[in-house]
């Protein structure tokens, strides 16, 4: 049989590997600075750009898309070529992928500290960057599928299935969730509002975890673990079941992020059921990984790469058991909005993604540079310091989360809240926040050790840009006769395009079942006649709220529990968010919920609170926002914002933005200034704080005395939710 000689491209793998290390350090340092601010608020350096609300999305985007993203590309570009026995389809596309992706990360690192954000979690980047992401992702997908199509190996190994699922699903998720109408170069409004926006966002958010942080890394696990262990995967059968069950089930589970919210009950239940079923394929995958090491545990003792891999796979198992448990409504009632969620995601991020990336890098560098790892000892130090850091991170967060959840729900014998002042619950957690930062510091120290070790490894070797390989061409290979289901399997896995289409069908079923009915069935989003669009001043105030990342610490969703209605007021209804583009329900309460904030305190209280939260709430860990008191309110973009909001469905009258909107804004600002004067505060009407106060005072006030126009079925569902009060 004719054998072809060709070369694997190592340059692109090296570039992505170096980017992984650099962005990993940047992203984790941003996380550490954010963590320190939670017990020492002045660590924001008194700058808007480095304040928690803006830093948090920078941290999450940097570790997810920059660190894990580059790690994923490095791992895929190395393994795909070898599994396909072919060089990548196009070196040019590979480099467009590299420079495009890293250019996007630089754009994110510049815009997020500037407050240019959509506020939708893990999808914060504004529309021009979103367009760039879509284009770069297309380049990656074409390169991936093209390489698979021109491969020399007849069969597609299971890792490639995971790569295909990643490429197509991330494209679908990104495009659907990012649909927005621009109101300027770096400002847009989501086309979805309130409940619909929440469902689309968490369908995206959950599946970003699934298809960006999980499926590509499972592909990497199925390649690098057998490589390092020197033996094939424990059960290839199990890996087939793992793949199809996982991609089919994952996509349905998004609503578990919205339990007990104003999302219709049926959607919540669906999310919960599928989340629990997810344990099966996830654990199948974990066991398959660990059992691959059967008989090779002596290697684990010797090889730091395998140590990292074992902890990564174990962390995957822990996180994928805990996730479904947290999706059970009764558990979620306690855990949601608390640090428990933070502990959960960091088990996955630090353990699964972090350790698997480190493992892969320790394996790749000696091969890219044709040498040995410079120091096994240093890699072992990294392993132990990283593991210790992870423990110091997650254990205090579990402690903090459960403490927080229990304190929020604690009643006295007389039936009053035991801790009516939210701040009491925060102060209880401050030592845990400090310990968490210690954990983060340890973990990052380990990454610095790795960077040094890999740098020295590179210095001690000689980079191999191209690796020569030989294989028979695809068409030259003879296929043995087969029949029945086996025949179909072999046929399917040799057809890359058909396989891709089937993967898309599998992931679309869940998404469509959940999202389409919410648009088609009117009963799902009950309207409330008294709910009105925001006034022009409130629109600008809301945009400041979005810019400062307030949603990172404050929810706007009061769940139907007595412990919440006692603390905050009437529980939140779906119909209250009709004009919320985007929704701002939040996912974490470092501070209290703000949905019924309107009218709770006088304007002067908000003014003083924003200038220095410690003056109104001694011991508060909220940052100071003095710049809001001095920065002039930008009203020049008001007409374009009103126009964009009208396009997404907010019923502002035609021509409202021409003059009336500005008059309306000035009149309301004058009223806020007058209110402040009553509180002995002299303020100018054209400052940002005026708009923010107007927005905060509007929150949750629409339904006071209103009649809900809710259909009987929804009203019953809401009653059911009320019946679940823990």
């Amino acid at each position: 049989m004719k054998v072809e000689t060709f070369k694997y491209d190592n340059r692109i793998v090296r570039a992505f590997s170096i980017a992984t290390i650099v962005w990993g350090i940047v992203g984790m340092c941003a996380g550490l600075l954010a963590a320190v601010q939670l017990f020492w608020p002045d660590a924001n350096l008194n700058l808007a750009y480095t304040t928690f609300g803006r830093l948090r999305p920078l941290h999450t985007n940097a570790v997810i898309f920059a660190f894990v993203g580059n790690g994923m590309f490095a791992g895929i570009y190395y393994s795909l070529q070898r599994l396909c026995k072919a060089r990548m389809l196009s070196d040019k596309l590979s480099w467009i992928n590299f420079w495009g992706w890293n250019g996007i990360i630089v754009a994110a690192a510049l815009t997020l500290p500037l407050g240019l954000t959509t506020s939708k979690e893990y999808a914060e980047l504004e529309w021009p960057i979103d367009v760039a992401i879509a284009l770069v992702w297309v380049a990656f997908t074409v390169n991936l599928l093209g390489t698979i199509i021109k491969r020399r190996e007849r069969h597609m190994y299971v890792a490639i299935w995971f790569y295909i699922a990643t490429a197509v699903t991330v494209a679908v998720l990104h495009i659907v969730n990012s649909l927005a109408i621009p109101a300027g170069l770096f400002k847009s409004y989501s086309i979805y509002a309130g409940v619909q926006d929440a469902l689309v966002q968490w369908w995206y958010g959950h599946n970003a975890v699934a298809f960006f942080l999980t499926t590509p890394y499972l592909g990497l696990m199925y390649y690098y673990l057998p490589k390092a262990a020197g033996r094939p995967v424990f059960s290839y059968r199990l890996s087939i079941i793992h793949f199809w069950a996982l991609i089919f089930l994952y996509i349905w589970a998004g609503p578990h992020h919205l339990l007990f919210t104003a999302l219709p009950d049926w959607a919540q239940s669906l999310g919960m059921v599928f989340s629990i079923m997810l344990v099966a394929p996830s654990w199948g995958g974990m066991l398959n990984g660990l059992l691959t090491l059967r008989g090779a545990w002596d290697k684990v003792r010797e090889d730091p790469m395998l140590k990292f891999m074992v902890v990564a796979v174990t962390a995957y198992g822990m996180a994928t058991l805990e996730g479904p448990m947290l999706s059970i409504k009764n558990v979620n009632a306690l855990s949601h909005y608390t640090d428990w969620t933070i502990a959960h995601v960091h088990t996955g991020a630090l353990g699964w993604n972090g350790f698997l990336t480190f493992s892969m890098l320790y394996w790749l560098f000696p091969r890219l540079y044709n040498t040995r790892l410079w120091s096994n000892k240093l890699a072992n130090y990294h392993f132990w310091i990283g593991l210790l850091g992870m423990m110091f991170y997650v254990v205090p967060m579990y402690w903090s989360g459960i403490t927080q959840g229990l304190m929020w729900k604690e009643f006295t014998e007389e039936g009053f809240l035991q801790y009516p002042n939210f701040l009491e619950t925060v102060l209880q957690l401050v030592p845990m926040y400090a310990l968490r930062a210690v954990g983060g510091l340890l973990y990052i120290s380990g990454v610095f050790l790795m960077a040094y070790n890999l740098f020295k490894t590179a210095k001690s070797g000689q980079f191999v840009p191209d690796v020569e390989a030989q294989a028979a061409p695809f068409r030259g290979q003879e296929e043995k006769a087969s029949s029945g289901l086996h025949h179909w399997h072999r046929w399917l896995e040799s057809k890359a395009v058909l396989f891709t289409i089937l993967s898309v069908v599998a992931i679309l079923i869940g998404g469509l079942v959940e999202i389409v009915p919410l648009y088609l069935i009117k009963e799902n989003v009950p309207t409330i006649s008294s709910v009105r669009p925001y006034t022009p001043l409130e629109v600008l105030g809301r945009d400041i709220y979005i810019r400062e990342g307030c949603v990172g610490c404050h929810s706007q969703m009061i769940r139907p529990f007595r412990s919440e209605t006692e603390r905050y007021g009437e529980y939140s209804k779906a119909g209250e968010y009709l004009y919320d583009h985007p929704f701002l329900w939040g996912s974490k309460r470092t501070g209290p919920d703000l949905h019924r904030q309107g009218g709770k305190y006088p304007d002067a209280w908000h003014y003083n609170h924003m200038e220095d939260p410690r003056t109104t709430s001694p011991g508060s860990v909220m940052p100071r926002y003095p710049w809001l008191l001095t920065q002039e309110l930008d009203t020049s973009s008001l007409p374009s914002r009103i126009r964009a909001l009208r396009k997404v469905g907010v019923p502002y009258p035609d021509g409202f933005e021409d003059a009336e909107a500005m008059q309306d804004l000035e009149a309301q600002a004058a009223q806020v200034v007058a209110n402040l004067k009553e509180g002995l505060i002299e303020a100018q009407p054209d400052r940002e704080i005026i708009a923010l106060i107007a927005y905060l005072q509007r929150l949750g006030t629409d339904i006071k005395g209103a009649v809900t126009n809710a259909p009987a079925a929804t009203a019953q569902a809401q009653l059911n939710l009320g019946g679940n009060q823990p």
Partner: protein, 64 residues
């Protein structure tokens, strides 16, 4: 205790039906599919990462 927990979840009666149907469709289907595959094919597939067609595995070999 488990029964009490389950009863307090809204609409729990339908969960079982939905779960069982999907379990049989997805897991059952994938199981049957995987079980009917030939051993020789599975062996070949699982060894793919170990055979990358490289002409000379250089310094890396001494690491493994």
């Amino acid at each position: 205790m488990i029964q009490n927990v389950l009863r307090s979840i809204g609409g729990v009666a339908n969960f079982g039906v939905i779960s069982i149907c999907l379990f049989f469709l997805v897991f059952g289907g994938a199981l049957v599919w995987a079980c009917l595959l030939r051993k020789s094919h599975l062996k070949h597939m699982s060894r793919l990462p170990l055979e990358d067609g490289t002409v000379q595995s250089k310094g890396a070999d001494c690491h493994e």
